[in-house]
């Protein structure tokens, strides 16, 4: 009797804790949707194509921010992904090498590293010498943030490939390069791609690394060497202003960011559940 009661109390406790963990997430999702969708409906397509309006003036949109986020995430992927995938392969293929052990713990540290410091570092080595904030500097900061995620996912995917496949490949007389790139990486493709997408989703929502690097662009879009806006940066600046229309823009931008994030994240999660 007592045992059953204890069991029930404990299960109830588990359910409540699970709910408490989920509640903030659900609340964020709900408030972003509830506040963001009306803004998008009110502004219409202009929201995605126009630039920043003056305070308390109707209209306007967040195009430079969306453009900047796409440019920077794209450039960051271009810089970060090849490096990260190679690092991941190296750590997976030579697990007992001292360098690879150091790399592995370094990657774990990088994952937890305060991203604002990454921004400061890139400001010192890129922004100051070039003499201008730029999308490129922002992208380099983002690629540093992205690197550990992609590398760790790549490593784990490579390691999960059964030894027999590799042995089979070696038995056929393939060289190590071919085995790694044509056999192991191909089998591990799904895990690697998941890592890439998670890295991209993660950096598309980053604010701190961009504060000292990307500069800001409210009204213009430019090339890689010019300052660029970003959706999370805009949200950060806009909510600090006392104007209702800026707050609306921030909610709308939050909604856009959330949709972008979920569009990358949900398919990954679903495909993971399926496999």
């Amino acid at each position: 009797m007592l045992r059953e009661l204890k069991n029930k109390v404990f299960i109830l406790y588990l359910i409540i804790s699970a709910f408490l963990v989920l509640f903030p997430l659900l609340h964020i999702l709900f408030s972003v949707f509830a506040n963001g969708i009306p803004v998008l409906l009110k502004f219409g397509m202009e929201f995605l194509t126009e630039t920043l309006p003056a305070p308390n003036k109707p209209g306007g949109g967040i195009f430079p921010a969306i453009y900047g986020t796409f440019v920077m995430v794209f450039l960051a992927s271009l810089i970060g992904i090849p490096l990260a995938v190679l690092a991941g392969i190296f750590v997976a293929e030579y697990p007992n090498n001292a360098l690879s052990k150091a790399t592995r713990s370094l990657l774990l540290i990088m994952m937890e590293f305060p991203t604002i410091l990454v921004g400061l570092f890139v400001m010192a080595i890129i922004v100051l010498p070039l003499g201008s904030f730029s999308a490129l500097a922002g992208a380099i900061a983002l690629s540093i943030v992205m690197l550990p995620y992609v590398a760790t996912y790549t490593e784990q995917a490579m390691r999960s490939v059964p030894q027999q496949y590799k042995e089979g490949a070696y038995a056929l007389g393939l060289r190590k390069v071919r085995v790694v790139f044509s056999i192991t990486l191909k089998i591990a493709k799904k895990g690697v791609v998941t890592g890439l997408l998670i890295g991209m989703a993660k950096v598309s929502g980053e604010t701190a690394p961009l504060i000292f690097t990307a500069g800001n662009a409210w009204r213009s879009t430019g090339g890689a060497l010019e300052p660029a806006g970003a959706v999370p940066l805009w949200i950060y600046y806009l909510v600090q202003q006392p104007y209702a229309n800026y707050h609306e823009l921030a909610w709308g931008a939050a909604f856009v960011l959330m949709v972008f994030f979920l569009a990358i994240f949900l398919p990954i999660r679903l495909s993971m559940v399926r496999s």
Binding site: L128, G131, G215, W218, R219, Q240, P242, A244
Partner: protein, 356 residues
């Protein structure tokens, strides 16, 4: 799959290349000017940029509001063309600028810090001395004799006063505490003026900090019987009740564009030459003479160089010239235009900018 991906990357790179090419070719037509700094004038600057871009399509101005200190740093590293700062640059900062070129500094807009409260009482009147006592925690209840004496007809409740102040380093705090130090010897000794001060009322358990004007506004709204200081624009936007403050001539005045303009009408005598901007003393603008002068006002300043590359110099001159002339007629709620004489000082400085 691979081919599609490679093709996609190629196309995207080409597009990026085109965009930067375009802006190079278009440089004849469109020039971008970047600024950063104080958050206080940011809404007004955004408004000016919107208006300016209507009449001047070939210049794009971008302003990032990140605080006066950050703006000065960006200016020093030459990452931006201009920087805005609420307190004038210090002498040490000015000397660093001079190692890099010839700096200019002049005021371009005026704002006010207002004392706001959350209490079911209309038209509260206070003098500087009493405000200092409240913010030091010496006056504990709203129906204290010293408040009653200034508001004989108000129905003040016997409730503890909750004091809300900024928790972050802020120009607003600096202006407010400079004013209180000016009108109260005791405040000057016990607290002093600065961007971040130690509020004695916190130790009594009745003082709380909020981050930014936003944070302070939110706390004031939620807390009954509280008092706080914010920038005028926020008080207007949030519809807070504002305290009428006793000015140097003994009149109780509320902040609005008229009382702010009156406070700075005679200020041009205190504004130094733009080539020696660091000589400005913001204390001189506080508690100004004049029957209708609001006592807590402050200028926001812009930092510029005397020389820029040819095209940029032209664009910068056209924007700041517009701000000091046409722009002064397009001021949004919560700010006031600078006096004509001060604008002329600025205009002279802008005219002196040369292209290389």
């Amino acid at each position: 799959m691979k081919k599609v991906l490679a093709f996609g990357i190629l196309v995207a790179l080409l597009m990026l290349g085109c965009v930067s090419e375009e802006s190079k070719e278009g440089a004849m037509e469109q020039i971008k000017i970047y600024g950063s700094g104080a958050s206080f004038p940011a809404p007004q600057i955004e408004n000016w940029i919107s208006e300016f871009s209507k009449v001047n399509k070939n210049v794009v101005v971008e302003y990032a509001s990140k605080g006066s200190g950050a703006g000065i740093n960006d200016f020093k590293s030459k990452l931006v063309h201009f920087a805005c700062t609420d307190p004038p640059a210090k002498k040490s900062e000015w000397e660093e600028f001079e190692k890099l070129g010839k700096p200019l500094q002049f005021p371009f807009i005026v704002g006010a810090v207002v004392v706001v409260y959350n209490l079911p009482v209309e038209g509260l009147k206070l003098d500087g001395e009493t405000i200092a006592k409240i913010f030091m925690g010496d006056i504990e209840f709203w129906d204290d004799e010293r408040i009653k004496a200034l508001n004989p007809n108000a129905n003040l409740p016997h409730e503890k006063i909750i004091v809300i102040h900024r928790s972050d380093s802020s120009g607003t705090t600096e202006v407010f505490t400079t004013y209180l130090s000016l009108v109260s010897e005791e405040f000057k000794k016990r607290v002093g003026a600065g961007k971040l001060v130690d509020w004695p009322v916190d130790k009594l358990g009745r003082g709380f900090g909020g981050k930014g004007n936003e944070g302070v506004s939110a706390m004031l709204k939620q807390t009954q019987n509280s008092i706080a200081y914010v920038e005028l624009a926020y008080a207007l936007h949030e519809n807070f009740k504002m305290v009428s403050i006793k000015n140097a001539e003994g009149n109780f005045v509320k902040a609005n564009s008229e009382t702010i303009s009156s406070a700075i009408s005679a200020s041009s005598a205190y504004v130094p030459d733009p080539t020696e901007g660091y000589k400005e003393d913001p204390k001189l603008f506080l508690n100004a003479k004049g029957k209708n002068s609001y006592p807590i006002v402050s200028f926001s300043h812009v930092l510029l160089w005397q020389s820029y590359p040819e095209k940029e110099a032209k664009a910068i001159k056209s924007f700041w010239k517009w701000v000091l002339t046409e722009g002064q007629k397009k001021i949004i709620d919560g700010y006031a235009p600078i006096p004509k004489e001060v604008a002329e000082l600025g205009l002279k400085a802008v005219e002196s900018i040369r292209g290389e």
